[in-house]
């Protein structure tokens, strides 16, 4: 008990809990972290390919063109959006794994940044799932709905998923901030990954321009606001998953040494 880190009671109960073996303490962490790439692959398949969102239907399409799209592809869209709503929820366990690692970056500091990450990441599920409902609604009765209504539903889905970006920016910046304060000789999240996470989150600010354009780079199908921003987000998921996975065995080793010393 000579370790000064043990004097913080919150850290004591959260981290040093001799009732739990290391195996029990870290159980499910890797499974949760692995949900990030699973989410990504499934979301690309369901939301992107089956749902015809990669690339998005251009914002300058007429209502009749949009209606023809829904009336032709309604079954793929139903399946795709059903899958998107299912797998979109995997963003939650992935966020939880990052939260658990972030709590142990600096054990004696308060956990407000990691909690912020948890809430922001968990709430990211909301735009993912809710926007899928709008597209699913369009595909549910495409023959009975007016073309303008179908157009509105498709627009609303994209406006929600794009314009609710800041709820995803919050956890991205939080991860970067927490990682940069890591006092280890070799930080759990390398500084480049932290800065990438912060930059990627802030780069979503270009989405502010999305509602003002139906064509060009800032439109929902534009090369900047779709291709660049979504690739940046997908890359962020892979980068953070990789370093979360790498952090877990290091934390296991640190905790085992701590238990041995105590």
């Amino acid at each position: 008990m000579n370790d000064p880190r043990m004097f913080n009671t919150e850290a004591y109960f959260r981290y040093y809990n001799p009732v739990l073996t290391n195996e029990a303490y870290f159980r499910y962490w890797r499974a949760c972290a692995a949900m990030g790439p699973v989410f990504l692959a499934a979301f690309l398949l369901c939301w992107g390919m089956l749902g015809y969102n990669i690339p998005p239907i251009p914002a300058d399409w007429t209502a009749d063109q949009m209606a023809a799209h829904f009336r032709t592809h309604y079954n793929e869209i139903r399946a795709g959006m059903g899958g998107a709503m299912l797998f979109g929820c995997l963003y939650l366990p992935w966020t939880l794994a990052i939260y658990k690692v972030m709590q142990l970056i600096n054990r004696n500091e308060n956990d407000i940044v990691s909690t912020l990450q948890m809430w922001g990441g968990a709430l990211t599920v909301v735009p993912l799932v809710t926007s899928s409902v709008f597209w699913l609604t369009g595909a549910y009765r495409p023959e009975e709905l007016e073309p303008k209504t179908l157009q509105m539903l498709y627009d609303q889905g994209w406006l929600l998923i794009d314009m609710f970006y800041f709820i995803t920016t919050i956890p991205m910046v939080a991860i970067g901030m927490a990682g940069l304060t890591d006092k280890r000789e070799k930080p759990l999240f390398p500084r480049w990954a932290c800065w990438y996470s912060i930059w990627a989150g802030l780069s979503f600010l270009f989405e502010l321009l999305m509602p003002f354009f139906k064509t060009g780079l800032f439109a929902r199908q534009g090369w900047l606001n779709f291709w660049v921003e979504f690739v940046v987000w997908f890359a962020y998921i892979l980068v953070i998953t990789y370093f979360t996975m790498k952090a877990i065995p290091r934390l296991e080793k640190e905790r085992a040494e701590l238990l041995d010393r105590a």
């Binding site: 390398p190 990954a193 800065w195 930059w199 780069s203 003002f212 800032f218």
Partner: protein
């Protein structure tokens, strides 16, 4: 060439062996996106050359040049501040950062004057493709400028208590690198928007 403890650190990172770490990642990623925007501008310009040139000619070249001089001068002051930090001159650090901040603030004022004039003439992002890029590039740059001003303010206040801390030099170098990126972006935006399509008066 500097050696040993006097050698300049790379990217203000603790991981000195890795040149692409720390704030440099942020800067490089940012520059890549801006490079894509510049490329987009040039491609679209090639399709609507007359519109782009006519619009560029309506911009205030002298204001753009003044912005360039403001940012470069402010950047030079940050260089002096970083240099003072390396030599341990605490008062000089704060003075140079303060001068950099005050000069830099002039950029913000001139941007409001310039945008105000455009809005007064009913010119906006939808006027034409040139103005879409004009407002997007200057707007995105302005957000970076605000971030830089915040970073200068942060390092000034931070220096009051922590100027002697071991990590101070890394922090002020990171702020300096970021502020130079803001300079660099304007050095690229200025010729692209203000100079490229400018109709120079005929020589007498």
């Amino acid at each position: 060439m500097a050696t040993g403890s006097d050698a300049p650190s790379i990217g203000a990172s603790r991981e000195q062996g890795n040149p692409v770490s720390g704030i440099l990642t942020f800067i490089i990623a940012d520059l890549i996106v801006f490079a894509m925007l510049f490329t987009g501008f040039m491609v679209d310009r090639s399709h609507e050359l007359a519109v782009f040139n006519r619009s560029a000619n309506a911009l205030d070249f002298h204001l753009g040049l003044a912005n360039l001089l403001i940012l470069v001068t402010s950047g030079l002051c940050v260089v002096f501040a970083v240099s003072a930090a390396r030599e341990g001159r605490m008062t000089a650090i704060r003075n140079w950062i303060l001068v950099a901040f005050v000069i830099g603030a002039g950029f913000g004022v001139s941007k409001f004057v310039e945008w105000g004039d455009k809005f007064a003439h009913d010119i906006g992002m939808h006027t034409n493709a040139f103005y879409m890029y004009y407002f997007a590039l200057t707007g995105a740059h302005f957000l970076h400028f605000l971030g830089g001003m915040g970073a200068l303010a942060f390092i000034w206040f931070y220096s009051l208590r922590h100027a002697g801390a071991p990590d101070f030099r890394g922090k002020i170098e990171a702020v300096g690198l970021y502020w130079h990126m803001v300079d660099l972006l304007w050095v690229l935006i200025f010729p692209l928007l203000y100079v490229l399509g400018h109709q120079w008066p005929a020589c007498p």
